[in-house]
């Protein structure tokens, strides 16, 4: 008798690869041939996961239409057997797959729309955290600001697009005609995060994106101020930095702050940049 282990291996191969060895183990029913009956499992596997992808990438589905999306879904399912307990995570590699796999790779907006939809889904049910408030920051004495380290909200995800995928996504979301896909002259920085219960995204200007990236790495505020001053000039750098910070706080993009230990921030402690708490 075939062992349970071997039987399950054959059953799975029968679904994933079309191997018919398992048909020797299963019986015809009173009304149906075994090939038809086992075919229910083969069909269900692809249909169920294609439905998962269509739900998770709803606007990409709309953008591509049924036939092209089905082609992408089938290729992805064939290449990525699920290793997850929850189907919620099955499609997590779709953006990378579309970016690396012909013929989808020659349309970068496909991968980027997928990346945006995934980031929004991840932000939607990502970890909870109390947003940093202006009041929280106001408690930091002005002399400590240079060694302040900002903590992004745990749902925050940075994306960089080379196509107008964000505009296409927005048009599809509003159920209007999306613009034709195009390559952007400069890469576009985006930030995705959850505000309240709403997953959101917005573009970041180059300087703001730079400051966010460095802040997310744990670079202290004094150095961030210097970097902003270097990026686009010292004139107004203080105001620009404070404005970015205020925008992030107002939009719940930060979840906390901490002070770098004083001994570790000697280099930045004496710098000439001082930024007042944003509520003053």
């Amino acid at each position: 008798m075939t062992s349970l282990k071997e039987l399950q291996a054959r059953f799975q191969a029968g679904i994933l690869t079309g191997d018919d060895t398992i048909l020797d183990e299963v019986k015809d029913s009173p009304r149906e041939q075994r090939t038809v009956l086992f075919g229910v499992y083969r069909h269900s596997y692809v249909a169920r996961l294609a439905e998962v992808l269509a739900n998770d990438y709803e606007l990409l589905h709309t953008y591509l239409g049924d036939a092209s999306f089905a082609e992408l879904a089938k290729a992805y399912i064939d290449a990525n057997p699920s290793d997850q307990r929850s189907a919620r995570w099955f499609g997590r590699h779709l953006a990378r797959f579309a970016k690396e796999t012909a013929p989808f790779a020659s349309h970068p907006e496909i991968s980027e729309i997928a990346a945006l939809e995934k980031a929004l889904a991840d932000a939607f049910d990502g970890p909870d955290a109390t947003p940093l408030s202006v009041t929280d920051l106001a408690a930091t004495p002005p002399e400590d600001w240079p060694r302040l380290i900002l903590e992004p909200h745990p749902t925050a995800i940075r994306l960089t697009f080379t196509s107008n995928a964000a505009d296409i996504w927005s048009a599809l979301k509003e159920e209007t005609q999306p613009p034709a896909p195009s390559h952007l002259p400069e890469p576009q920085a985006l930030i995705v995060w959850r505000q309240g219960f709403m997953a959101r995204f917005r573009p970041l200007a180059a300087e703001e994106a730079m400051m966010w990236n460095e802040a997310a790495k744990g670079v202290r505020f004094g150095v961030l101020c210097e970097m902003v001053a270097t990026f686009a000039g010292e004139d107004g750098a203080e105001i620009r930095t404070a404005t970015y910070l205020k925008d992030w706080i107002d939009a719940d993009m930060l979840a906390g702050s901490r002070l770098e230990p004083a001994h570790a921030s000697l280099e930045g402690a004496g710098n000439s940049v001082s930024v007042r708490p944003v509520n003053q």
Binding site: M1, T2, L4, Q12, I15, K27, E32, V40, S44, R88
Partner: protein, 284 residues
């Protein structure tokens, strides 16, 4: 396991996101909700908050789809830890999953795959149920699944297998009325044989659902209203087992809440008629 048989909860529904708003704003006449465990094994956000609000108003049971109790792959301790964590958070009346396997070799096929009814499979499943119950610190409830194939090597009937698992592993059973109906049609046995072949004292829940009929087989799609034949079998099941917590399972083509509540009312009506009939008989 020393925990007592779970309480009778009445008539419940599967909690689906499409109904969140209607449930919170309308307080529908539903006695309890069953949640898909995996849907709430997420880091945070609105689904968990909404769930907490619903949990404050209704008893809840947890129903998993990927425990894979009959798989020959090792038990997934990460999954079990998450399951236990969720149970600690929401305090379900019971935790159920399916008497099936979902994959081997690190793959999850996201389907409820059939088991051969052999002594080898029985020993394997019983051992795994015991391990899971020890880990969770409570009895597991296992559901009979719909299937489309049977195995040449099977040595017993499905109901004999289910009964042996329940008795030897000391677990509860979720009797899926629709799945018995589907399997009886697909494999050519009598629903009565199954009904009378499983132990009454192990049954803690009924599932009732719709399905799709193909030419020579039935597919358990949960995307249709419950058909008359399944309602008839539900009536037989209530007659045989007595009052059992009953739930309408709808997973696709999900209609407005009122439609599913109306289906649940059919179950209530059947159960009430049978109870009234029993009272009359007792009084005579």
């Amino acid at each position: 396991m020393t925990d007592h048989k779970p309480p009778y909860l009445g008539f419940g529904l599967g909690l689906r996101p499409q109904h969140y708003e209607e449930i919170l704003s309308g307080n529908p006449a539903v006695d309890w909700f069953e949640v898909i465990s995996e849907n709430y094994m997420i880091p945070g956000g609105q689904p968990l908050r909404i769930f907490d609000q619903i949990r404050e108003r209704y008893p809840v049971v947890m129903h998993g789809v990927s425990l894979s109790i009959a798989s020959t792959a090792p038990l997934d301790t990460e999954y079990l830890t998450a399951l236990k964590g969720l149970a600690d958070r929401i305090e379900p009346k019971w935790i159920s999953d399916h008497l099936c396997w979902t994959g081997v070799h690190g793959v999850n096929l996201h389907d409820l795959l059939p088991v051969p009814y052999t002594q080898e499979a029985l020993d394997h499943v019983v051992d795994r149920v015991r391990q899971v119950q020890d880990f969770l610190g409570r009895r597991l409830t296992l559901e009979n699944v719909s299937s489309y194939v049977t195995f040449g090597q099977s040595e017993m009937t499905e109901w004999e297998f289910v009964t042996e698992v329940a008795n030897r592993a000391d677990c509860w059973l979720l009797f899926d009325v629709n799945n018995v109906y589907v399997n009886a049609f697909n494999h050519g046995f009598s629903t009565d044989e199954f009904l009378h072949g499983v132990p009454q004292d192990r049954i803690v829940q009924f599932h009732v659902a719709g399905h799709s009929e193909e030419e020579g087989h039935i597919v358990d799609t949960h995307d249709h209203p419950v058909c008359d034949e399944v309602w008839d079998f539900y009536r037989e099941a209530v007659t045989h087992f007595g009052p059992v917590s009953t739930m309408i399972e709808r997973d696709d083509n999900i209609p407005p809440l009122a439609e599913v509540v109306a289906e649940l009312d059919i179950a209530r009506k059947i159960a009430r008629e049978l109870q009234d009939g029993a009272r009359l008989s007792a009084a005579e």
